[in-house]
C-alpha cells in the first residue's frame, strides 16, 4: 500500500502531522485536543449538523465544522479562542432552551456530553423565558426508550440504524423546533444490534429500559473485559454497583467490534450475579458434602487424581490460562478433555465487516480447541467407570445425571455445584470470569485480556490459582503468583501462543500464530 501523503498543520499551537484527508477533529485528537462535538461519530457518516465542533481556521472567513473539514498544509487552527468559545456557548444555550434540565432524574447524568460540555464551557444561566417544548416519552421497542425532551437531534441513532444496521426504523420527524426522532409506522428497534443507539446517544434521550433507574453513573465501578456471550469477543466494560454487575457496555476496539456490542451480549449478564454459588471448598463426608478448608479439599482432589486417569469436562467460558492448566492435569496420566457449547442463530451487524453475534454462545471455544479439547454435543459419552470426572465449571444442565454418575468419583472445580450428583468427592469453588483475570481467544484467534470487575463470593478463588495449587499438590514444580505467570507458561509451552504476553496483549489483544494476521514476533 502506498504511503498516505502527510499534511502538516498547527492546532492550538501544537504541530500536527496526519495523513491527507483526515478531518481537523480527528487530527486534533492525535495532538490530545478534544474538540467538543455531538453529531460526529467515527463509525458513522458525517452530517455536520450539531455545529458544536466549529473551529477557527486562520484566513477562512467563517468558522469551520472540524468534523467535516479536511486538514490542509500549513493550516493554523484555533479550538479554544474567544470566537470559537463564544460559538460553542451559543450552541449549548440553544441546545438547552428546550431541554428539561432534569439531570437529577436522568440516567445519563454523569456520563452526559451535554452536561460535560455545559459545565466545561456553557453559560451559567439561560436567557430563555418562554415555555419549553414537550413531547411524551416513547417506547422504541427492544431495550430502547426515547425521551424526546432531552434529544438534541444529533441523528447518530438514525444513522446507525440506516448505515450500520441496514434497518430503517428511525427518522427525523417534523421540522424546526418541533423536530424529534420518530419511528416508521409498524417498525420497532428489534434489530439484534439496535441497543447500540443507547451508547451512541450523547445525551439522555435514548435510554436502556433494562438499566432504567438502576444506578447513577458515578456509583459504578468499571472494569475492562471481554463479552463472554459468544465467540466474537467484543471488548466491553463491565459496570458494577455493590458487587453486582449492573450493565455491560461496549469498549472500542477497531479490530474486533469497533464501538458496538449486540443486544444479546449486552443483556445476558444476570448469570454473572447468580446467588447460588459454590462458596466454600467441600469434601465428601459419608452421604453428604461437608465444608473443608482449602488444603483439605485440594488434598482430597489430589489423592483421587494421583494415579487415576482424569476425564475433564470443561466449560468454554474458562480462560486460556485455566484451560491450559487443565491440560497439564491431562498430560500426567493421559485422559480426555471435552467440552460442549450452547448455540443459537448468527446475527450480523451488516454495516461492519466480520462483526456478528456468533452461533457459538461461549467466549473461549477457539481457545479450548487450540488447547486440544474435543467439542461434543454429548461430551460424557466416553466416560469410563474407572475415570475420575473433573467438571470444570459445566453445570451439567440439559445432560442426564446418569452420564456423570458413571464416574468413579467427581471433582467439581466450578462456580456452582451441579444438581443431583451423588458421587462428588470434592468441590473446589472458583470465581467466575468477572471475578478474575485472564484471556479468551475469539473465533478469529485473537487473544484478549479481561480484568476483574467484582469480588468472588465466600472463599471462592480464581480458577488458575486453584489449579496451580492442585497441580502443586500433585508434585508440579511451577509456582504461579499471577495469571500472567500462567500465561507466560502457556506461551512457552504452546507454539500458537508463543511470543505473546500480558504486556504485549495490552487491552486490545493480539492474534495467535496461524490465525490470520497472527505473525507473532
Amino acid at each position: 500500500m502506498a504511503e498516505a501523503k502527510m499534511v502538516n498543520l498547527t492546532i492550538e499551537g501544537r504541530p500536527v502531522s496526519v495523513p491527507e484527508g483526515t478531518s481537523i477533529l480527528e487530527a486534533a485528537k492525535t495532538a490530545g485536543i478534544l474538540i467538543p462535538h455531538y453529531c460526529y461519530h467515527p463509525s458513522l457518516p458525517i452530517p455536520g449538523v450539531c455545529r458544536m465542533c466549529l473551529v477557527e481556521v486562520e484566513k477562512a472567513p467563517k468558522l469551520a465544522p472540524s468534523c467535516a473539514t479536511s486538514v490542509a498544509e500549513g493550516q493554523i487552527v484555533h479550538v479554544h479562542n474567544d470566537r470559537t468559545l463564544e460559538a460553542r456557548k451559543g450552541v449549548l444555550e440553544f441546545l438547552l432552551i428546550n431541554h428539561p434540565l432534569d439531570c437529577p432524574i436522568c440516567d445519563q447524568s454523569g456520563e452526559c456530553e451535554l452536561q460535560d460540555f455545559t459545565y466545561q464551557e456553557g453559560r451559567a444561566d439561560s436567557r430563555y423565558r418562554d415555555p419549553k417544548r414537550f413531547n411524551p416519552v416513547e417506547d422504541f421497542g427492544g431495550d430502547v426508550m426515547y425521551v424526546p425532551n432531552r434529544c438534541i437531534l444529533c441523528t447518530r441513532c438514525v444513522r446507525f440504524m440506516d448505515d450500520l444496521a441496514h434497518d430503517t426504523v428511525l427518522n427525523v420527524s417534523e421540522r424546526g423546533d418541533r423536530a424529534l426522532i420518530g419511528k416508521f409506522e409498524g417498525k420497532d428497534l428489534t434489530h439484534p444490534w439496535a441497543a447500540n443507539v443507547i451508547d451512541l446517544c450523547p445525551v439522555g434521550a435514548l435510554l436502556s429500559k433494562d438499566f432504567l433507574n438502576k444506578a447513577r453513573a458515578w456509583e459504578l465501578d468499571r472494569a475492562a473485559s471481554i463479552c463472554p456471550n459468544c465467540t466474537q469477543g467484543c471488548n466491553i466494560m463491565i459496570e458494577v454497583r455493590d458487587n453486582s454487575v449492573a450493565r455491560l457496555k461496549p469498549r472500542p476496539n477497531e479490530d474486533v467490534n469497533k464501538f458496538f456490542m449486540c443486544d444479546y451480549g449486552r443483556l445476558n449478564y444476570r448469570w454473572m450475579n447468580r446467588q447460588d454459588r459454590a462458596e466454600l471448598p467441600m469434601v465428601r463426608n459419608g452421604a453428604g458434602l461437608a465444608s473443608a478448608d482449602w488444603e483439605a479439599a485440594i488434598h482430597m482432589a489430589a489423592n483421587l487424581l494421583r494415579d487415576a486417569k482424569p476425564f475433564v469436562l470443561v466449560s468454554p467460558m474458562l480462560s486460556n490460562e485455566t484451560l491450559f492448566l487443565l491440560t497439564r492435569l491431562l498430560q500426567r496420566k493421559g485422559g480426555t478433555g471435552v467440552f460442549r457449547v450452547a448455540t443459537g442463530d448468527e446475527a450480523p451487524l451488516p454495516g461492519v465487516e466480520d462483526l456478528a453475534l456468533r452461533r457459538d454462545r461461549a467466549a473461549n471455544v477457539q481457545g479450548a480447541e487450540i488447547l486440544g479439547y474435543t467439542r461434543s454435543d454429548s461430551p460424557l459419552e466416553d466416560l469410563g467407570s474407572d475415570d475420575i470426572l473433573v467438571i470444570a465449571d459445566d453445570d451439567l444442565r440439559g445432560m442426564p445425571v446418569e452420564a456423570a454418575a458413571r464416574a468413579k468419583a467427581v471433582i467439581v472445580i466450578g462456580t456452582a455445584i451441579p444438581d443431583g450428583l451423588e458421587n462428588i468427592a470434592a468441590v473446589l469453588p472458583i470465581s467466575n470470569f468477572t471475578e478474575e483475570e485472564g484471556t479468551f481467544t475469539n473465533l478469529r484467534g485473537r487473544v484478549q485480556r479481561f480484568t476483574q470487575a467484582k469480588a468472588a463470593p465466600g472463599q471462592a478463588r480464581p480458577s488458575w490459582l486453584v489449579l496451580g495449587d492442585l497441580l502443586g499438590a500433585l508434585g508440579a514444580q511451577d509456582s504461579f503468583y499471577l495469571p500472567s505467570d500462567v500465561f507466560a507458561d502457556l506461551a512457552a509451552a504452546r507454539t500458537e501462543f508463543s511470543g505473546l504476553s500480558y504486556d504485549e496483549l495490552g487491552m486490545r489483544g493480539l492474534p495467535v500464530m496461524n490465525a490470520e494476521g497472527g505473525a507473532v514476533r
Binding site: V91, R127, D177
Partner: protein
Amino acid sequence: MGYPHTSHQRETAVLSQYFGDEEARTLDGWKKRGGYQALEKALGMSPADIVNVVKESGLRGRGGAGFPTGMKWSFMKPGDGKPHYLCCNADESEPGTFKDREIMRWTPHALVEGCAIGAYAIGAETAYIYIRGEFTEPLIWMERAVEEAYAAGILGANSMGTGKRVDVYVHKGAGAYICGEETALMNSLEGRRGNPRIKPPFPAVSGVFGQPTTINNVETLAAVCPILMKGAEWYKSMCLSNPKSTGTKLFSVCGNLRNPGTYEVVMGFPFKDFLYDLCGGPLDGRRFKAVIPGGASVPIQTMEEAEATLMDYEGFVAQGSMLGSGGVIVIDDAQSMVRVIARLARFFAHESCAQCTQCREGTAWTTKILERIRDGQGTMEDLDTLLSIADNMTGTTICVLSDSCATPVISGIKKFRPEFEALIHGKRVHSVMAAVA
C-alpha cells in the same frame, strides 16, 4: 409586458414579453414567436462556445446569490464518464417572490428551451425541473410544454434531429421552503428528506445522485435563449449602473402599494422611480415606510436607503440590502414593523429543516420573543437577547436559512428600534393613526 397590469413604458420586456399572452403557452404559439430557434442555434454550436457566450453576456444567477452563470457552467467537466445533470430550481418559495411562477405560467416553453440549451452546454443528458409543490397551475403548464416538446421531437433521443439526447423531467416538490436550497433540492429530488447537504463537495462535483450537477434558477435559464439569439453584446449593453450586473431582471412586487405585480427592468434602474412610477406609489393617504427588496431573507431597507438604490446586485448591497430573488415587499406606515418581522421569523421557524442547532432552536426562540414583544409582553433585555441570538445564528450553519431569519431581525431592530421600544413600554402606537393625526 408586466403582469397583470399592462407594460409600463419604462419596462424592458425580454422575458416578460409574452406574459398574459395565452397563445404563447402552446408549442405552436411559442414557435410563432420565435421559440426554439435558440435551441436550434445552440445545437449547432459547440458546448464550450455556448458557455463562452453566456460568460461574455455577464448573466448572473437570478435565484438570489448572483453567481456568474457561465462560470458555474464551466465547472462541469463533460467526458469524465459520469452522468451529468442539470437541475432547474423552480422551487420559488421565498416570501414575496413570484417571478418564476409567471415565466412558467405564460412561457413554459422558454424554460424548456433554456433547460435543453443548458443541458447541452454542460454536457448533461438529463435536466430536472423541480417545481414548488404549491405551484399547481405552473406545474400543469410545464408538464404540458414538456409533453409537447417530446411529441415534436424537440426533446428526447434525437433532439431537433441532431442526434443529440436531451431529456427534461418535471418534478413536483412537496411544499418545503428549504427545498429551494440547492443541496436540499437535490436530496428531495432523490426521494430523501429535503435537508441541505454539507459543502464541499459542491454540486459540480457531487450533486444529484452523487453525480456532477449544475443547478440554475428558472429566470437564469429562460434568459439564456434571448442571449443566444441576440448575442452577448446585446445583453451586456442592457446595464444602467454597474457593468457587473447586466441584462434585465424580473421583480415581483407585493405589499402596500398601488400596482403589485411582476415587472421587468434593466439592471441598475432607479428603485425610487420603480416604486413610485412603475408600481404606482403608495395607497391613498399612506406613505412607504420600509422595503424588503429581495425576498424575505434580505435586510430590510428604510425608505431613504430604498430611494437611493440602483436596482442591481451591487446597488442593493450599497444601500444595506441585497438583490436576492427580486421579490420586493413594500411596507407602508400603517403596518407595525414588529408584526412584520415577527411574521417573517415565524415563517423561518416553521420552515427550518431542524438539522443545525442554531437554526432549529434559534428560529423558534426568535419567533417566541418577537411575538411576545408584539403582544406587549416584551422587555428591553429581549432586544439584546434577540441581537445576540441573531449573531449566533449568522454564518454558523450548513445553509443560510438561519442567517435569513436573523437578517430581518438585525436590520429591523437596527432601523426601526423605536417601534420595538414603544411596544415594550406599553405605548401601542398604531402608526396609521399617527399618520392621520
